[in-house]
């Protein structure tokens, strides 16, 4: 690959010298600041004669120092800098076991992600079984309309690093209440994720007693750690990327499907394939559009939403706006007729104490009277 990369560079260098594209813009395949090839394989538009492409530039504006803002304090940086690098940098102190993770999962995650991470509705599943076996499915291709065994992309089979899960859960989950989990809880949840994906750490499949901590985190290796191209890690990372996107045309095709022409004038204009065109038409149309094509949206009610409606949106819609996890969907008259059959007191009791997949108060800490307002809104909106 390296050899072919050199070849394209030599032809590209000639193109860079010519430097004027069909539109009359000054272009270059190399950056003026480091004289390296444009990282994405495209062109750049250097400032020449006071212009970049079609845009005039006040060159003085970009050479002047303005020195705006103030120096960031260490405690401010620490408050926001909670990302975790793939090699473990940024992991906070803390620990949590699979068993603890399972408890937290059932209380705060299961309502969307389903039993044992099996997913529900359009919320992602977190496992498809044994990660090492599932990893083998990544080569599956559904070439023909009847094929149904596609690749299974889950945390266990597809994600390269567990650090990503720690960082993401810490800052983005639970979806309706991010930044609410402690570091210990996040360790426990990642440990639980490893367990339901049957990941081995140090050759041992993690069991209920397994404790994940800052100390042993980097011993976790997921099966798809080396499943990504180009390789962005280490001191050659950036250059690997540059080579990948600047390869010769044949390699570009293999790399990402890109098609390059040596001479655009020689592109095919006549008889580009043999015989009649082979047409693939829509087999299963998706047409559940909101609003339907050509139609205006329904007028939004102008009345101020009630407190119950507002609280419902913030806390309950995550499940009740759809029928995920079997939650009766707000607006579904039949479903709510069944719910209210035994009377409002029973509905309120169930809402406060939990029922089926729903945890007590839907996992919120709201007082009973607020739950009552929400329930009244939901019942009224479903009549």
């Amino acid at each position: 690959m390296f050899k072919s990369y050199r070849k394209i560079i030599s032809t590209a260098a000639i193109a860079a010298l010519c430097a004027t594209a069909a539109m009359g813009y000054e272009t270059s395949r190399k950056y003026d600041f480091n004289h390296k090839y444009v990282i994405d394989g495209g062109v750049t538009y250097p400032v020449k004669h006071g212009k970049t492409a079609a845009y005039y530039v006040n060159e003085k504006a970009h050479k002047t120092h303005f020195n705006l803002g103030r120096k960031a304090k260490k405690c401010e940086i620490d408050a926001w800098n909670v990302d975790v690098m793939y090699y473990g940098e940024g992991l906070p102190e803390g620990k949590g076991s699979v068993e603890e993770g399972e408890e937290i999962y059932e209380a705060k995650c299961q309502q969307c992600h389903g039993d044992f991470g099996s997913g529900s509705g359009l919320y992602p599943h977190l496992t498809a079984g044994n990660a090492y076996e599932e990893h083998e499915t990544l080569k599956n291709q559904r070439w023909n309309p009847g094929d149904d065994e596609g690749p299974h992309r889950t945390f266990g089979s597809y994600w390269p690093y567990a650090s990503t899960a720690f960082w993401y859960i810490k800052t983005g989950m639970p979806h309706q209440a991010p930044m609410s989990l402690t570091n210990d809880e996040v360790y426990a949840l990642v440990a639980y994720l490893l367990s339901i994906n049957e990941i081995k750490v140090d050759g041992q499949e993690v069991d209920d007693d397994f404790v994940l901590s800052k100390e042993n985190f980097t011993k976790v290796h997921l099966p798809n750690e080396n499943g990504f191209v180009p390789d962005i890690r280490g001191k050659n990372g950036l250059e690997n990327v540059r080579k990948f996107w600047n390869a010769d045309p044949k390699t570009l095709r293999e790399n990402f499907g890109g098609k390059k022409l040596k001479d655009p004038k020689k592109r095919c204009m006549k008889g580009c394939f043999k015989g009649e065109p082979k047409v693939q038409r829509i087999a299963h149309a998706i047409a559940n559009f909101n609003p339907p094509l050509g139609k205006a949206p329904k007028q939004e009610a102008s009345a101020q939403p009630s407190e119950g409606q507002k609280l419902y949106k913030d806390h309950c819609a995550v499940c009740h706006a759809t029928d995920s996890m079997g939650a009766p969907k707000v607006g579904d008259k039949a479903a709510w007729a069944a719910v209210t059959k035994k009377g409002m007191d029973k509905v309120l009791h169930n809402a406060i104490h939990g029922i089926n997949g729903m945890p007590p108060k839907g996992g919120t800490n709201l007082p009973d009277d607020k739950i009552k307002e929400i329930v009244e809104y939901m019942v009224n909106a479903s009549k």
Binding site: A15, V43, H65, L122, K139, Q141, G227, V279, P291, T322
Partner: protein
């Protein structure tokens, strides 16, 4: 009153329409000159009645229309303008199949069938978010730049906007535009097949201008951009791109960014995946190593047929689509022999569009279309072809190329190279099937 004018009145119920009595009350206080002018109004109605009796022409011409015989609304109303009530169907649209159950990690797609030129109005700009759209008070918002820089800084929004601004027209495209159709067409709609994108004039500061002040350390190779919304979404960007044309934008088509577009500030990474253009931007960190954020591992990576996934798949490659006709704008009103303009959009994140070809037989034979209007780097570009409609079935395709040397592959070239499970970055040639009635359907040509 005709049926149509009643409809109009219904939509204008909120507008104060002066009654005849009001009219006389008010004119009584006007100057003599104004009264003289106003007195012209009455006789016109009579003469129209006379005209109607003599003419069987279009009643919209021979009759008076309600909007010509009474006031419209005053300048003191609608101080932020809205589209005509007759354009209410021109909206973003959603579908449950592309949404999480709560519509807080979802996409609303742009009605590109109804757009003109290369600028998308802000209210129609496609919208993707990962934790809902926040309303952020700019006075409470900060931008922090830290990591491998000489002087880590915090900027208020007012301070940031003191930097000299640049304005650039660029498209912003979700790399999953067309992504649900790797295995075949699914949406009989241009809005859903190609509407995961929009194009605007963005105003902001080149990030390189700020880095010049705070000093980027030579070992810095990657930048994390992170949002301040509930998803705290982050993405890694190589410093080469940062030092080329990345903008921190606060302006969109002449006004402040819309909340859906990241108000008060977003990153604008010209030509690259919209997901990299982090909205509600609050933190930039420079580092030696890439960050492996969630949206560049579990998502926005393209699984190839060899089981390897392409990561850091930055560029929205050269692409095009015919917007007229399309499923939403068919040719059902055309008669054989009518002359019609075929129009479309082309764009490339690698550079500038240099040409577009059109085919009437699904890509077997091609003719060159004209580019029209502004042709700018990493921006929507309009193309046009004047065609005599014959009322025969057609397979109407477009094929764009750019100044980096790329040309759109055929559907089969693309599938053979990378497979059909990639989800992202599909730029194979798009084809509409036009039947003898002029109806338009979404198809793929597998020749």
């Amino acid at each position: 009153m005709s049926k149509r004018s009643e409809e109009l009145d219904a939509t204008r119920a909120d507008v104060h329409t002066p009654s005849r009595r009001d009219f006389f009350k008010k004119t009584a206080t006007l100057t003599a000159g104004a009264v003289a002018a106003a007195s012209v109004v009455a006789p016109v109605a009579l003469s129209a009645d006379e005209k109607k009796a003599k003419c069987d022409g279009d009643e919209k011409i021979v009759n008076l229309n309600p909007w010509e015989t009474k006031w419209g609304y005053p300048v003191s109303e609608k101080l932020y303008g809205q589209p005509s009530p007759f354009e209410r169907h021109v909206v973003r649209r959603t579908t449950p199949i592309l949404s999480s159950g709560n519509y807080r990690a979802s996409i609303a797609v742009a009605p590109i069938q109804d757009l003109h030129g290369i600028i998308t109005p802000n209210g129609l700009f496609f919208n993707r978010h990962h934790g809902g759209t926040p309303d952020i008070d700019p006075k409470q918002h900060r931008l922090m730049i830290h990591g491998l820089v000489e002087k880590p800084i915090v900027l208020t929004m007012d301070e940031l906007k003191r930097y000299p601004s640049v304005s650039r027209i660029h498209f912003v495209e979700c790399p999953a535009n067309g992504g649900p159709e790797w295995r075949g067409p699914q949406f009989n709609s241009i809005q859903f097949a190609k509407g995961f994108m929009s194009c605007a004039e963005w105003t902001g500061v080149y990030l390189k201008d700020i880095l010049k002040d705070i000093g980027l350390k030579p070992e810095a190779k990657w930048m994390l951009a992170e949002g301040g919304d509930s998803s705290h979404m982050g993405r890694t960007i190589p410093v080469d791109k940062v030092l080329d044309d990345v903008i921190i934008a606060w302006g969109q088509n002449g006004e402040a960014l819309r909340p859906e577009q990241g108000y008060p500030i977003r990153l604008l990474v010209p030509g690259w995946e919209a997901n990299l253009c982090v909205k509600w931007l609050r933190r930039l960190e420079f580092a030696k190593e890439p960050f492996y954020a969630k949206e560049e591992t579990s998502r926005y990576t393209a699984l190839r047929k060899d089981g390897k996934a392409i990561q850091h798949f930055y560029v929205n490659e050269v692409n095009s689509v015919i917007t007229n006709p399309c499923p939403e704008k068919p040719w059902t009103d055309l008669k054989k022999g009518d002359i019609v303009e075929i129009e479309g959009l082309a764009w490339s994140g690698h550079g500038t569009i240099t040409g577009v070809d059109i085919s009437f037989d699904g890509g077997k034979n091609w003719v060159e279309a004209s580019l029209k209007g502004l042709v700018l780097p990493k921006a929507w570009t309009r193309f046009s072809y004047i065609y005599k409609y014959e009322g025969k079935p057609l397979l109407l395709s477009s094929r764009a190329r750019d100044d980096a040397g790329f040309i759109q592959p055929t559907v089969m070239e693309e599938r053979k190279a990378v497979g059909v499970e990639g989800v992202y970055h599909r730029n194979g040639i798009h084809t509409w099937e036009v039947n003898e009635k002029g109806e338009v359907s979404n198809v793929q040509v597998l020749s």
